[in-house]
Assembly symmetry: C2
Homo-oligomer: 135 residues x 2
């Protein structure tokens, strides 16, 4: 059993390494957010660049401190609703720093008994048609 | 020490979950490849779609069985060289299934004492100028 546990532990370490390499290699901007308090648990450098923060300063920031939803309502609740919807649509927001319009694409999952959101942050280039969740 | 170990183990499980969620949420196509034998360790659904395999059938396939480099030479060795270069450039290849031209963007890292490549597979849309490593 000890050997099995160690093997399992080793496999976990490998996936932790892959997780970190993948986060940083990704050109897409991602943040993991706790549904409970709306705080960012971790984000990648691409997300930091879009949100106007260094990557290491993202944890503990509330996502709604950094992004203002275009429509009224609680940002985390709107993301959660979209993530659970059968036909989810991106949620439009404005980055508070720099006023860049972005589209937030949420995925919801459970980790260590807590609900978490993975949010992809896409710059809304001009010309691109917005598909806001609330329009 | 036992408690610290358990806490560490729990953190590892969380990052394993995040790794899996991130792989599948990504619209970019990624495969992890062992430098030692050139075999895919894991890939996401986007990579499977590009390479003409189901995601779960990617592991154990050799990357060069699925992609043919445009220039002569060993594909894994070329990817490794580019990943280690100061000014890496993508490596052009042709997917054997479907003949789609793609650009391979490698990142190299070490995991459990073994060198691994994370390879982003980008479809080379027409019009897009290729920056092949060997041209």
């Amino acid at each position: 059993a000890q050997i099995a546990l160690e093997r399992d532990y080793e496999a976990q370490r490998e996936s932790d390494t892959r997780y970190r390499v993948l986060m940083e290699a990704s050109r897409e901007a991602y943040v993991f957010v706790s549904v409970h308090d709306g705080r960012i648990v971790e984000g990648n450098t691409a997300a930091g660049a879009l949100l106007g923060r260094r990557r290491d300063d993202l944890p503990e920031a509330g996502l709604s401190e950094l992004c203002e939803p275009k429509r009224k309502g609680d940002l985390i609740e709107t993301l959660r609703t979209q993530a659970l919807s059968d036909r989810p649509v991106p949620v439009d927001a404005l980055v508070r720093h720099g006023k860049e319009p972005v589209s937030l694409v949420p995925t919801i999952f459970r980790s260590a008994g807590e609900r978490m959101l993975l949010v992809r942050i896409e710059p809304l280039s001009e010309g691109k048609v917005s598909q806001d969740a609330l329009s």
